[in-house]
Symmetry: C2
Subunit: 380 residues, 2 copies
């Protein structure tokens, strides 16, 4: 096991009716700004619950943080926040609203341009922020990361920083999500785990087991949720899975990959595909192209998640990869670039971007632009 | 899933050589007192590492916090702490040193007698404290609980409060533990999980899987550790298992039992048995006497941990209970009261204590003194 430091201070407030606790959770006397997305919260009752919980308190609202939040939009929120002396932010929405809010939290107390903060990779200072999370997917509600898009150049980058002070997760707010949102959320959670799991086995027995525990749970609940998304216990399992998939709990002392995310971000930046959907497309390619270095873990994955124990090592690995793709498709998602009108031009653009930046990803830092091309070609 | 609030702010600093970070982790300018046990740290190199890390800093030392820390000893530490205006405590030792230090942290900033703080169940205020943990067992390094003994009356009670600011866990410090300490630590971790797991299944799929992940890991490493306790990766798995077994991570939204601990505490208070050892004695009895209400979970436990799938439900449950006792015995521990010279008198004392207090334990709050008697009688 590698040395590690773990600390996750976020207060998770989970369950039915918990939005009503907002007033006790937000410190008295702060200058509060609430950030929202496009308005779905006005249709599912969440906006009303937030208003009721904060009756009698003063706050500013900022609307319109879009999916894959644009730095161009967030600069406006930063400007408003500075103008109103905001010192506490509450994001009400999905992972994109919260990710955008994390950048606003940094921008409000900085003179640096928001995109430069993103490019620096880490926000040195942020005002406190919290969330009411409405879309289980990104895990942003309990981690220090955020991903921001620059529309002007179709670029999408991640940066790190503080954790939310608290996040309220009420599974009932997920009842109104679209089937596509849920499918993408389930794939996002599942793939977050794979990024931290599909490296080499035995670095930590418990981290292996915990990752597998989330994978098995997500696999088990997925088809039931697609059938009936009004089952509280299923949606609670889904919501908790998304949080635990990316809150540092399953990456203590182990190496990580993140190749699939890096390539997926490019597909979103260039074609606007939903994040989780890009992961469903790319992940089988990452598994296949890197199967030599990931061999032992892929065998363990196949056996423990899909009960694949028959055949040669290569056959078992191929079965595990096919089972993964079949699982993603069973949620109603396409898993091939050609099914989404994406061809060689995009593949070359992504390969060139990685090669030009001189970056390489993955647990062995060997996924260059050329390897990314190979992965994408295998997903045509 | 039940509603829950989760927050665990402890910084976990894990790995080889991490004790050297002490000076950066303890805030500058604090009035520091370091608390120790009986002196084993002077033999295993930990004391020297702490001294080296804190070279040039001023601090007070308090020695002699014993296993199952006595309030009588801790009152002396509180007195010293008040006299020296201590405002930061560092516990260096096992779970008992840290548990005792948690009470000292409360006593230093209170006029209430230390035992009354314990009896109140919760420390309203504590000065900040941290730990260098040397014995993986109690999980105290990353939770808000502590268990204190009053020698005068042979009573042992738990109380809650703040979490450590940080805990340093270096698996190399466990190389010098005795085989009995390790066996008891492994059983302690394993049983902490069972207390949170053996209730009813399906309250949270992930919590079930994560609990099983620790149980499987502890089972897998145990016999290897007993053979060779100088294998870093094994000891790292063991140390992490003990922490994750009782740091709130596996009890989100679920009911809990704790019957075995309540009875075990009495055996320690009355006979001085090591805590983990008492759990090995009591747990099979809790399983057997409460097997009707725990039936579905015992079946799941048997199947997922011991691959028990053959036979009637009752046969499978009995096999799972026997497998648990066999596992504890394989670590070199006795599992019967008679093997430890404990007879009917103690059983009656414990039953009477619980009945007199009018308390009842367990996930259904139905373990009265009479049920405790039944459990103990089954362990004669």
């Amino acid at each position: 096991m590698e040395n590690f430091i773990f600390q996750n201070p976020t207060k998770l407030v989970f369950g039915k009716g918990q939005i009503a606790r907002l007033s006790e959770l937000i410190p008295a006397g702060v200058h509060l700004m609430i950030t929202y997305g496009g308005g779905s919260v006005t249709k599912n009752g969440v906006y009303e619950q937030v208003q009721d919980a904060l009756k009698g308190r003063q706050y500013v609202e900022f609307w319109g943080i879009e999916p894959n939040p644009h730095v161009e939009t967030l600069r406006k929120a930063i400007e408003l926040g500075k103008e109103k002396n905001i010192d506490f932010l509450l994001a009400v929405g999905g992972g994109s609203v919260l990710d955008g809010t994390k950048l606003v939290a940094a921008g409000i107390c900085s003179d640096t341009d928001a995109w430069d903060i993103v490019l620096s990779g880490y926000a040195q200072k942020q005002i406190p922020f919290a969330s009411v999370m409405t879309v289980p997917a990104t895990g942003s509600e309990m981690n220090g990361g955020a991903v921001i898009t620059r529309r002007e150049t179709d670029e999408k980058y991640a940066f790190g920083g503080d954790y939310p002070q608290f996040s309220i997760l009420d599974p009932e707010v997920t009842y109104s999500l679209s089937k596509h949102q849920i499918a993408c959320g389930l794939v996002d959670a599942y793939t977050h785990v794979l990024e931290q799991y599909l490296t080499t086995p035995g670095q930590s027995r418990i981290m292996d087991r915990w990752a597998e525990g989330i994978l098995l749970s997500v696999k088990e609940i997925s088809l039931k949720i697609i059938e009936n998304q009004h089952n509280y216990d299923l949606m609670a399992d889904y919501m908790l899975a998304a949080t635990l998939a990316l809150n540092d709990f399953i990456r203590m002392g182990i190496t990580q990959d993140w190749t699939t995310h890096m390539i997926g971000h490019e597909l979103t930046a260039l074609h606007g595909l939903t994040h989780g959907h890009t992961l469903a497309i790319v992940m089988p390619g990452t598994m296949r192209v890197l199967k030599e270095q990931k061999k032992a873990k892929l065998l363990q994955y196949g056996e423990r998640i899909f009960n694949i124990t028959e055949g040669s090592e290569n056959e078992r690995i191929e079965k595990a990869i096919d089972a993964t793709e079949t699982f993603f498709r069973s949620l109603g998602l396409t898993t091939r670039l050609s099914e989404n009108g994406i061809g060689d031009e995009t593949i070359e653009t992504i390969a060139k971007r990685f090669n030009d930046r001189g970056v390489a990803f993955g647990e062995n830092q060997n996924v260059t632009g050329d390897v990314a091309r190979e992965i994408l070609v295998s997903r045509k």
